[in-house]
Symmetry: C2
Subunit: 119 residues, 2 copies
Amino acid sequence: MPPTPRPGRPARGSATGRPVMAALDLFGRRWTLRILWELRDRPLGFRALREQCDGMSSSVLRQRLLELIEARLVERGDDEGYGLTALGREACGELLGLHAWAERWAAELEGPGPAGRGA
Amino acid sequence: MPPTPRPGRPARGSATGRPVMAALDLFGRRWTLRILWELRDRPLGFRALREQCDGMSSSVLRQRLLELIEARLVERGDDEGYGLTALGREACGELLGLHAWAERWAAELEGPGPAGRGA
DNA sequence: GCGTAGTGTTTCTGAAACCGAAGCACCAGC
DNA sequence: GCTGGTGCTTCGGTTTCAGAAACACTACGC
């Protein structure tokens, strides 16, 4: 299991510990973005979260949660399960921007098409 | 090689084709965010881009570039190499938000610490 | 007490993704 | 013809992920 990326420590695929590199490494791992997204407006238990993520592998979910907890984006409540920290909510705010972008993206791909949209 | 995520088509790990899911899948692949980041303010050739990404594997770089081209985030100029499309620049704008967040993240982890920062 | 149902978590095996170095084909300058 | 620069491909080994099964624990009804 690779180390959890954190600012100040060299990220995977980066000689520097620049915060943005650590973030790019952390968010570039499979399911990480999705987990943050699914927790965006309420905490979820392990199994519920797994359901939301279309039944992703429990071993990987566990791993990602540990990483996110170590990175202080996620924390465990006593009853509610896993939820975002203040830092996690801020990051999720940025994902909202991505969500808006994705809608424009969809519109763009659907519409004009020099490079064709069908495979 | 898995299919390139695109809105309207079920993304990996998602039953739906919702644009945001496709985006989360696309951006959740290793190096994808980093590539966009490195292209943020000028086009780069294959080898130069590879250098910027700390010597990432050329086979994976090729794969990611094809995906990004198919997703219309990246295009090839005749001379300058690979550069962002208008859509790609928009997405990159969202990454700038992530960059700003990463700085706050670094400050937060450096400062107060209930969960400890040292391993 | 005893079984049932619900957690979160762990373990395991095979598949998929990634790494990394080497080498290819091509072109420009000399 | 050689050198040095591209972009790109191939291939064996390593890492990561997938998916199902089972574990430990708790709360409940009985």
